[in-house]
């Protein structure tokens, strides 16, 4: 195999945007190569065969040659059907993609995050879609070295406060219930209740810290749209 030449590598497509006149700049996520930026030459042209395949959230087999920062896409094949996402769930998928685009560097393999992404995407059409987002946030933060260390001896009846220095400590002023933390730690949803909101706030705060205080565009857009309909 040539150096810098990759054949039929399983990837998820994160984003595809117009690049020069008829090409696409594709961001993909692979297990062995991490996030990769690829130029799909001529993919926006009328005769392109790849256009239908080069859609975000689609599992693909990609071939490319890597030269410098951007790789040249040389082949595209489907690697399974697109995830059956519709309506708001599409935004959930975009949210996962935006997290990867913002938090991972190109050509930096993250096999754990890759696995977590596949699991999250598979769970998005189901009833526990929001919880799947929380589990993915947890896995991704852990993979880039900012994991939440949730202790074994959490009491579901207590409230907990998180600090960078001491981690989770029981406190009456705590923002998060023990029940929520146990659900997140074990990856088991705990039925209905406030715990979902608590986890969303906790994770949003943790993610925002990694993004230097900036908000994710997908979350902002979804809020704007919900306010309208």
């Amino acid at each position: 195999m040539d150096h810098g030449r990759v054949q039929l590598e399983p990837c998820w497509l994160l984003s595809a945007r117009p690049y020069s006149e008829t090409s696409l700049l594709v961001e993909a996520f692979s297990e062995r190569h991490g996030r990769i930026g690829l130029v799909a030459k001529g993919a926006r042209g009328a005769k392109s065969r790849h256009r239908a395949l080069l859609q975000p959230l689609r599992p693909l087999l990609l071939s490319w040659t890597q030269r410098g920062e951007l790789a040249a896409l040389t082949g595209v094949e489907a690697n399974g059907p697109p995830p059956g996402l519709a309506g708001e769930r599409l935004f959930y998928g975009w949210y996962l993609n935006e997290l990867l685009l913002r938090l991972l560097h190109r050509q930096d393999p993250h096999p754990d995050a890759y696995r977590a992404y596949g699991e999250a995407l598979a769970a998005l059409p189901g009833a526990e879609a929001e919880f799947a987002l929380r589990l993915f946030e947890k896995a991704l933060l852990a993979d880039i070295g900012y994991g939440l260390d949730i202790p074994e001896d959490i009491d579901p009846a207590l409230r907990y406060l998180y600090s960078e220095q001491e981690g989770f400590q029981p406190s009456a002023r705590g923002h998060c219930s023990g029940r929520a933390l146990i659900a997140l730690r074990d990856g088991e949803p705990a039925g209905e209740g406030e715990w979902r909101t608590e986890l969303r706030r906790l994770m949003r705060e943790r993610v925002r810290r990694q993004l230097g205080g900036r908000e994710l565009e997908t979350a902002k857009l979804l809020r704007q749209l919900r306010a309208r309909v």
């Binding site: 984003s15 945007r17 006149e21 239908a52 395949l53 859609q55 975000p56 959230l57 489907a78 059907p81 697109p82 519709a86 309506g87 708001e88 599409l90 935004f91 975009w94 993609n97 935006e98 685009l101 994710l216 565009e217 997908t218 902002k220 857009l221 979804l222 704007q224 749209l225 309208r228 309909v229």
Partner: protein, 200 residues
């Protein structure tokens, strides 16, 4: 240093702004205009200036239209049809207008929802669309966004908006192209075609 005189290189740079025009084609165009068709060049220059000053956006459908004149896509006969077709771009509008017998009104989004590019409801003029739906002249909203992931998400929100106003919503069908062969159609398109089948 540039191989051209300053004015010539400005002209070539300016021509390169056109889509599909690289340095070679721009040079060819510049030489053609200067050498063979100075009158045409004059016309081109004047027309461009006139167009920039005199073409704006129709406030109701967002399509390009001459300033101070009524938009040809928002005539009263089109309004009377009670149909509003929502498309992503002016080129999409022209495709429907030229290729189909549809003669209702349009709404041009000038894009599609795309959080990763920061394109949201404001950029697409959804407030204006909502106001038109609320005004009660639209009986059917036809969604003709592209069958891409972004187009689908946009369609979903357009449909929610219309339903909120009690307006009937339809979506253009997508499936096998005319003259196409099933064998060469990609799986996603074929799946859509099959799930969207109609009784005959």
């Amino acid at each position: 240093m540039s191989a051209y005189s300053p004015r010539l290189s400005r002209l070539i740079e300016a021509l390169r702004r056109l889509p599909g025009v690289g340095p070679k084609s721009a040079q060819r165009m510049a030489f053609h205009l200067l050498d063979r068709d100075r009158q045409g060049a004059q016309l081109l220059g004047e027309t461009l200036v006139e167009a920039l000053g005199g073409i704006g956006r129709c406030p109701s459908c967002r399509m390009f239209c001459d300033e101070g004149e009524n938009c040809r896509y928002c005539s009263s006969s089109r309004t009377a049809a009670g149909q509003l077709c929502v498309v992503e771009s002016p080129a999409d509008l022209m495709a429907i207008e030229g290729g189909t017998s549809y003669r209702g009104r349009y709404f041009v989004l000038m894009g599609r929802l795309s959080p990763l590019d920061g394109i949201g409801p404001e950029e697409l003029g959804l407030d204006r669309l909502q106001a038109q739906l609320a005004a009660g002249e639209v009986q059917e909203m036809i969604i003709a966004t592209n069958p891409t992931v972004e187009g689908e998400a946009t369609a979903y929100y357009l449909a929610e908006m219309a339903r909120g106003q009690g307006v009937r919503v339809t979506r253009i069908a997508h499936g096998v192209p005319m003259g196409g062969e099933l064998e060469y159609v990609d799986g996603g398109t074929l799946a859509h075609a099959l799930s969207g089948r109609t009784p005959v």
